[in-house]
C-alpha cells in the first residue's frame, strides 16, 4: 500500500506537483498518464526520495518514507528509470545484479536470479549476460533496465515509461510478463506511460495529471465512461473510447447460450478482439470456447455493440 498524502513539489516559484493525494492498494497497478511536463516523473521520484517533496507525506505500508535513510529506502523499491540508465561500464548481468549485490545476497543466488530474469525477458543469459549495454538494441536495454529494477524482488516497483522503446509485439509480451510477475509476487506498481492503450490494459487504476495537478484517479472503466474533465476525455482519445471499453471486457463476460457457425473464439480474448473477428469474417455470431476447448456458447455482434455503448445510454 502506497499512500501519497497532499504532496507538493515547488522549484523556486513554480509548482511542478500540486497537492496530489492518491493511494495505491498493495498488489495493484496504478498508471500515471498526462502530457509532457505535467509532473509525472517528479511525482514518481518523490516516492523513492530522489526528489524531496516541498510538503506532504508518503507512506509505504504505513511507514513514512522519511523514517528510513534514502539509500536503504531505495534498495527496497525497484526503479526503472526513464530511458533505462544502465551502467555503461558494467555487463548486462552485473547491471541486473546491482541491488542484490548491494543487499549482500549470496553470489550463487544472484547468478540464478539474473539468469531467471533474463530468460523471463526473452534474452538468452549465456548470450546477453556478458555483453555491455552499448551492444544491445534500445528495446533490449529497456528490458534489462526493468529486469534490474525487479532483481531484488521489491514489494514496490516504480516504472517511468519502461516500454517506450519496444515494438508492439515485444511490448505486449513485456506487459503480459509484467502482469504475471506482479500477480505472482503481489508487487505494488506505479507506472508512468504516454500510451493510453498500455494504461488501460495494465492499470487497475489510472491517475490523470495535468500541470502538476491530479485531475482524476479511477478505474479504467470509470475514466472511460465518466471522465472528470474535458482534458481527461481528450487525453483518452474520444474516438477510440468504445473500443477501449471493449478491451476491458473478455468474451467470457458476454457469452450467451446458443450455437454459431465458423471458427470458435477463445473466452479469454477481449471483447474488442471478438468484435474485430466478427467484423472481419462478416459473421453475426461466433461460437465461444474455453481455453481447454470446451464449448461455452456463442457471442453476438449485437451483444458486443451493446457492451461498447456508454453505460446508461438507452439502445435506439
Amino acid at each position: 500500500m502506497i499512500d501519497i498524502d497532499t504532496i507538493t513539489k515547488r522549484y523556486d516559484d513554480t509548482e511542478v506537483v500540486s497537492d496530489v493525494s492518491l493511494s495505491v492498494p498493495a498488489g495493484s497497478i496504478a498508471v500515471i498518464v498526462g502530457t509532457s511536463g505535467s509532473g509525472k516523473t517528479t511525482l514518481l521520484r518523490m516516492i523513492n526520495r530522489l526528489v524531496e517533496p516541498t510538503s506532504g507525506r508518503i507512506r509505504i505500508d504505513g511507514q513514512d518514507t522519511h523514517s528510513l535513510s534514502p539509500h536503504v529506502l531505495r534498495r527496497k523499491i525497484g526503479y526503472a528509470i526513464q530511458g533505462h540508465g544502465l551502467f555503461p561500464h558494467r555487463t548486462v548481468a552485473q547491471n541486473i545484479a546491482t541491488v542484490p549485490k548491494l543487499l549482500g545476497w549470496e553470489p550463487a543466488r544472484i547468478k540464478q536470479r539474473v539468469a531467471d530474469l533474463l530468460t523471463l525477458f526473452q534474452l538468452d543469459p549465456a548470450a546477453y549476460g556478458p555483453r555491455y549495454p552499448s551492444a544491445l538494441s534500445g528495446g533490449q536495454q529497456q528490458r534489462v533496465g526493468v529486469a534490474r529494477a525487479l532483481a531484488a524482488e521489491p514489494a514496490v516497483l516504480l516504472m517511468d515509461e519502461p516500454f517506450g522503446a519496444l515494438d508492439p509485439v515485444i511490448r505486449a509480451k513485456a506487459q503480459d510478463d509484467l502482469r504475471a510477475i506482479q500477480r505472482r509476487f503481489g508487487t505494488t506498481i506505479i507506472m508512468v506511460t504516454h500510451d493510453m492503450e498500455e494504461a488501460i490494459h495494465l492499470g487497475d487504476r489510472i491517475a490523470v495529471m495535468d500541470g502538476g495537478r491530479l485531475l482524476q484517479y479511477a478505474s479504467p472503466t470509470e475514466i472511460l465512461t465518466a471522465p472528470a474533465t474535458g482534458f481527461v476525455e481528450s487525453l483518452l482519445g474520444a474516438a477510440d473510447r468504445p473500443f477501449r471499453l471493449l478491451s476491458l471486457t473478455t468474451l467470457a463476460d458476454v457469452v450467451e447460450p446458443g450455437t454459431a457457425d465458423g471458427a470458435p473464439l477463445s473466452a479469454d480474448a477481449t471483447a474488442r478482439d471478438g468484435l474485430s473477428a466478427l467484423l472481419w469474417t462478416g459473421r453475426d455470431a461466433a461460437p465461444v470456447q474455453s481455453a481447454d476447448g470446451a464449448p461455452l456458447g456463442r457471442v453476438t455482434r449485437a451483444r458486443l455493440m451493446a457492451a461498447a455503448r456508454l453505460p446508461g445510454q438507452a439502445p435506439v
Binding site: 523513492n48 530522489l50 539509500h71 534498495r75 528509470i81 540508465g85 551502467f87 561500464h89 555491455y132
Partner: protein
C-alpha cells in the same frame, strides 16, 4: 593484422632502447660523427642505465603523488559539501602550472637542499593541473541518467563514487596522467642542475664539454621513453573506454 603492424614499431623502439642502455658501446660508431677532437661518443661519467632508472623513479614518484593529490582534490570539489572550494582548488593548481619549474627549483633548494627533493617538488607541482582538470571533466561528464540510476538503486555517495563515477571517468583521468607523465619526463632533465640524478646530467655534460653526441643520446633516451609511456597509457585508455561502452 593491422594490430601487429601498429605494434611492431613500438616493439622495435623498445628493443632499441634496451640495447642502447644495456651496451651503449655498440652504438659508439653511430654517434662518433657528432664528436670533435676525439671526444668520447658515449657518456663516460656514469652508467646511462642507472641514470635512466633514477630519472624514471623521480618521474614515477612525482606523477604518483600528483595523481593522488589531484584526483583527491577533484573528487572533493565535486561533492556537494566541497563545491564551494572549486575556485580555490583551481587557482592553487593553476599556480603550480604557471610558475616555471626552474623557478620552483630555485625557490625549493634553500629549503630542501640540493638533490632529488627540489626536483620532485617541481615535477609534482607541474604535473597537478592536467590530472586535476581531466578528473573534473571526467567526473562531471558522467551521464545524468546514469547518476540518477546509481542513486535510484540505493548506492551511497561513496559507492556511487567508487563504482560508477571513477570507473566511468577513468579513461579521461588516465589521459591527464599521460600528459603529466610526458611533461615530467622532459622536465626532470633540469633536475640535474640541482644535483638530482637524472638523464639531464648527460645533456648538461654535453653542453659544458661541447659534445653533441652526449646531448643527442640524453635527449633520445628521454624522448623514446616518453613515446613508449605515452603509447602504453593510450592503449590502456582505449581499453578502458571500450569497456565503458565508448
Amino acid at each position: 593484422m593491422t594490430r601487429v603492424w601498429s605494434f611492431l614499431p613500438r616493439m622495435a623502439l623498445l628493443a632499441f632502447l634496451i640495447a642502447f642502455l644495456w651496451h651503449p658501446a655498440w652504438f659508439a660508431g653511430l654517434l662518433r660523427p657528432l664528436t670533435e677532437n676525439g671526444a668520447p661518443p658515449i657518456y663516460d661519467q656514469g652508467s646511462l642505465a642507472l641514470l635512466t632508472l633514477d630519472h624514471l623513479a623521480i618521474v614515477a614518484v612525482a606523477t604518483l603523488a600528483a595523481s593522488l593529490i589531484a584526483i583527491a582534490l577533484a573528487v572533493l570539489v565535486t561533492r556537494p559539501s566541497g563545491r564551494e572550494f572549486l575556485p580555490l582548488a583551481r587557482s592553487l593548481v593553476n599556480i603550480g602550472q604557471t610558475v616555471p619549474p626552474v623557478a620552483v627549483l630555485a625557490l625549493a633548494v634553500p629549503m630542501t637542499g640540493f638533490g632529488e627533493k627540489p626536483t620532485l617538488i617541481a615535477l609534482f607541482l607541474y604535473g597537478l593541473l592536467p590530472i586535476f582538470e581531466n578528473t573534473l571533466t571526467g567526473l562531471s561528464t558522467v551521464p545524468a541518467n546514469v547518476m540518477e540510476a546509481a542513486r535510484g538503486v540505493g548506492m551511497t555517495g561513496r559507492q556511487r563514487l567508487w563504482q560508477v563515477e571513477l570507473p566511468l571517468a577513468a579513461p579521461i583521468i588516465l589521459a591527464g596522467i599521460r600528459l603529466s607523465v610526458v611533461i615530467s619526463m622532459a622536465t626532470a632533465t633540469i633536475g640535474s642542475t640541482v644535483a638530482a640524478s637524472t638523464l639531464g646530467a648527460v645533456i648538461i655534460a654535453g653542453l659544458t664539454s661541447n659534445n653533441l653526441a652526449f646531448i643527442v643520446q640524453g635527449g633520445v633516451i628521454v624522448g623514446v621513453i616518453a613515446i613508449l609511456i605515452f603509447d602504453a597509457l593510450r592503449g590502456l585508455e582505449t581499453l578502458l573506454a571500450r569497456r565503458a561502452g565508448g
